[in-house]
Subunit: 414 residues, 2 copies
C-alpha cells in the first residue's frame, strides 16, 4: 500500500478507497443509507432549536437511542459543499481528490446517460454583434421555453463520425454531448468568459484532441448558421469539455450491490458516475419510500435521497424544513420493517433556513446497528450529535463505519 | 491551480492553501485574530483549575456563550510546537510542510527586515586554540554586552559586491546577513557541532553557491583576523545558511488585507515572512490594543499577539498567567466595539506554568460570529473547549473556519 513519503503531501485521516477495498469481505448484511439533503440547520434565534431540533422525530430519536451519533464535515471545516461534492464524500470518495468537471455535472443534472468516452460540455446561447463580438453571454437569459425551440435547431446538426446530443438545461444553458470513437475532452473553451470580444476558437490541448476540436469547431459554425436569424440568441459558447471520470466503482471498492433511489436527476447522476447498478427515479417521497422494499431483496446497499429538506432550507422556510424532516420520520418504520443491519441517516451538507443556502456547518450523523456501542443520547439533533461518540469526523469516514458495523471489513493485520 | 490527482496519495484533512485560494471570494467582512501565546495550561493540583479556568473572564465567557468552542493541535497530538511553528499553523500554513530555517528564524527574532535574496546565518562567537581547534563553541557564553562590542568589530568587515549585516542576538549568538546579487543559501555550516576539531570550511552544495561560499570564507577569515587578540572569543562559527522562503503570501492565499500587531519581534517576523502588509510594533499590551482601531478601517484581518501569557508560563508563575489572561479579558470590549464579523481567540501552543515550558497539550479555541451554531457552552476554558462543537481539530482548520464564517469562501462544487 502506498504510504506518505513526500513532505509536499498533506496529511491523511481516513483510510482511502484502496485501503478499504483491500479489506472488504463478503457478508449477507444490508445497509440502508438515508440522506436528507441539506439536513444541518441553525436556530432562528439565540438558544432556539434548529430545524431538526424543532421537528418531532420519535422514530429517529428511537434509532438514536440504540445507535451512535456524530457530526461530520463533508469536505472540511469551514467549507461549503455543493450537492454532488457532498454525496461523493458520503460515499467515501474524497471530493478534493475525486473531482467532477462542469460538462459531466451538466449531464448529471439533466439525467443524461453519459457513456464512457462521451465528451460533454456546458453550452450557453449568447448574442454576438455583426463583427462577431459577444454582446450578451446569456442571450438576455432567454426563457427555457424559447431555449427548447433553439435546442431543436441545434439537434438537426450532423457531424461526420459522431452522434450529437443537445439537451436543454435551464434558460440560456444547454448540454452538448459528442459520442463516437477516439474523442478527447482536451479541448479549450470557446466561451471567452467576458463580453465585447469574439468567441474563442476551440483548440486541442493534446495531439489526440485535434479531431475533437475540429468537430467542436464544425458544431459551433453550424450552430451559428442555424441561429443566424435570431437577434438575441444568434450564437453559442461552450466550456468545460469533460468525460466521465474513470474512478473505481462503488461496487468494486465495497463489494456492495447498490441501489440509488432519488427524485432529482443530480443524485441519480452521482450514483451513475459511481457505477451503482440500480438507479430508481421516483416522483414523490412516498414513491421513493415505496421503492425501497422493491429493491431490498436484490441489493445490499440502498441509498435513498430526500430533497425537500434542502429545498425548504434554500427557500428560507424553517417550518417547511421541519415538516420535511417529520415526513421522513413518519415513513421511517416502513424501512426499519425491512430489518436493515446498518442504518445511516445524515445529510450531504447543511442548508439552514436562516441562511437560505448551503453552508459550511457540520452535519448531524446517526448510525444504527445491533452491534454499535450506544452513546446514551436520546434524540437525533445537532446538539446531541456534537456530544455523540463518533465525534466530529470527515464524511469519508462514514462508509468505513457502516461497513465495519455491517461486518463487511476484514481485520487489518494479523 | 495544482490539484491532487494521483490515486496513490492519501486524503488530506485540512484543505490546503491552494484549495482555499481557489475558493476565496471577496466580502466586506473583518476577522479579528487574538492569539494569547502559550494559552493552554494545566492544573497545579488534581481537580484544580488551569490558568484559563482560574482566571475571571466575563467577556471571553460571554463570547463563548454565543460562539463555538474547540481544542486544537498546532502540529499534531503529542507534538510541542515552537512559537514560529505554532503561528504558521494558526495562519493555515501546515508547519510540517512549510518550514522556516535557522538563519531566517534568527533574523525574525531580532526584527531584521530580511529581503528576498538575502542569505542569513546563525553565528556563534567561539574560542579556538593555537592549532585552530574549537575549544568552546560558545566562547564561555560571553555576556551580551561584550558580544555587542565584538559585533561592532565584525561590522567593519567589507566584502566585494555584497552588503554585510551583523546583528547581536543574545550572549554568544549573532545574526549574519549577506545582501547582494546572485547569492545562494546552499552553503555548508562552518560550525563543526563539537569541540576539539577545527571550524569547517564553507562548501557550496551547488555550483550556483560557489561565489557565496567564497564570500563566507572571506568573512570568516576577516573575522578571525579582527578577533585574534581575544582569548575566549577569537573566532566565529556559522550555521543554517538560509533565505526567505518563497511561499504564497497570506494576502494572495486568502484575499485578506492583514495587519499584525505584536510587541515581540519574532511574531512580527512571522507576519513578515507571510507577507502581511502592515506590521505594527507596540511596547505594551495597551499599545497593542490601541493599535487595533487604528488599523481597523484599512484591513480585514487583524492579528493581535499577546506575549505575557507565555512568559508567565515559562516563568512557572501560575498567578501571573492568570493575571495576563484577565488583562486581555478586561480589554476585549474595546475590540468588540469595532464589530468584527468573526473573532478567533486561541493560543499558538500550551505553556503550563506547572511545566515552565511549551508543551504538547491541545490548545483552547473560541470562534465567534453571528452565524455560528452555538454549542451551549458558557465559559472559555479547557474543559469547555473539549466539549465544544468544533471538536478536536488541527490548527490549520482554524483559518478555513474563520473564512467560512466570514462568508469568504465560495461553495465547493455545484
Amino acid at each position: 500500500m502506498p504510504v506518505r513519503n513526500s513532505s509536499a503531501e498533506p496529511r491523511m485521516t481516513s483510510p482511502n478507497l484502496e485501503f478499504l477495498q483491500a479489506l472488504r469481505t463478503d457478508a449477507r448484511t444490508k445497509i440502508l443509507f438515508l440522506v436528507l439533503d441539506g439536513l444541518g440547520g441553525l436556530p432562528l434565534r439565540e438558544r432556539g432549536p434548529t430545524e431538526l431540533e424543532a421537528a418531532s422525530t420519535p422514530n429517529l430519536d428511537a434509532l438514536a437511542r440504540s445507535g451512535v451519533l456524530g457530526i461530520h464535515d463533508p469536505v472540511g471545516p469551514g467549507i461549503t459543499p455543493g450537492s454532488g461534492v457532498g454525496h461523493l464524500a458520503l460515499f467515501g470518495y474524497d471530493p478534493i481528490r475525486y473531482r467532477i468537471g462542469r460538462g459531466v455535472l451538466e449531464a448529471l443534472g439533466v439525467d443524461f446517460a453519459l457513456g464512457a468516452g462521451d465528451v460533454a460540455a456546458r453550452g450557453n446561447f449568447c448574442s454576438v454583434d455583426a463583427a462577431g463580438a459577444v454582446v450578451d453571454r446569456r442571450a438576455g437569459r432567454l426563457s427555457s421555453e424559447r431555449a427548447r425551440a433553439l435546442v431543436e435547431r441545434l439537434r438537426a446538426i450532423e457531424l461526420p463520425g459522431v452522434q450529437l446530443f443537445v439537451e436543454p438545461v435551464k434558460e440560456h444553458r444547454f448540454l452538448l454531448v459528442l459520442r463516437g470513437p477516439d474523442l478527447s475532452a482536451e479541448v479549450t473553451d470557446t466561451d471567452p468568459g467576458r463580453e465585447g470580444v469574439p468567441a474563442l476558437e476551440p483548440q486541442p490541448r493534446t495531439p489526440e484532441a485535434r479531431a475533437t476540436a475540429e468537430l467542436v469547431r464544425a458544431f459551433v459554425s453550424a450552430a451559428r448558421a442555424r441561429l443566424g436569424g435570431e437577434r438575441d440568441a444568434n450564437m453559442v459558447v461552450l466550456r468545460g469539455f469533460d468525460q466521465l471520470p474513470a474512478w473505481p466503482s462503488f461496487g468494486s471498492v465495497y463489494g456492495l450491490r447498490a441501489a440509488a433511489i432519488a427524485a432529482y436527476p443530480m443524485y441519480r447522476g452521482v450514483a451513475r458516475v459511481l457505477g451503482m447498478p440500480t438507479i430508481v427515479p421516483a416522483a414523490t417521497l412516498d414513491e421513493e419510500f415505496d421503492a425501497v422494499p422493491q429493491v431490498w431483496a436484490d441489493h445490499d446497499f440502498v441509498f435513498l435521497h430526500v430533497k425537500d429538506t434542502d429545498r425548504a432550507g434554500e427557500d428560507g422556510d424553517f417550518q417547511a424544513k421541519v415538516n420535511a424532516i417529520e415526513d421522513v420520520d413518519a415513513r421511517l418504520p416502513r424501512l426499519l420493517d425491512l430489518k436493515p443491519d446498518v442504518v445511516v441517516v445524515t445529510g450531504d451538507h447543511s442548508t439552514p433556513a436562516r441562511l437560505r443556502q448551503h453552508s459550511w456547518h457540520a452535519v448531524p450523523l446517526l448510525l444504527w446497528s445491533s452491534n454499535c456501542r450506544p452513546d446514551e443520547l436520546v434524540e437525533f439533533s445537532e446538539r446531541a450529535c456534537v456530544r455523540g461518540s463518533l465525534g466530529r469526523l470527515p464524511a469519508t469516514d462514514i462508509m468505513p463505519l457502516a461497513l465495519g458495523h455491517a461486518g463487511r471489513l476484514a481485520r487489518y493485520g494479523a
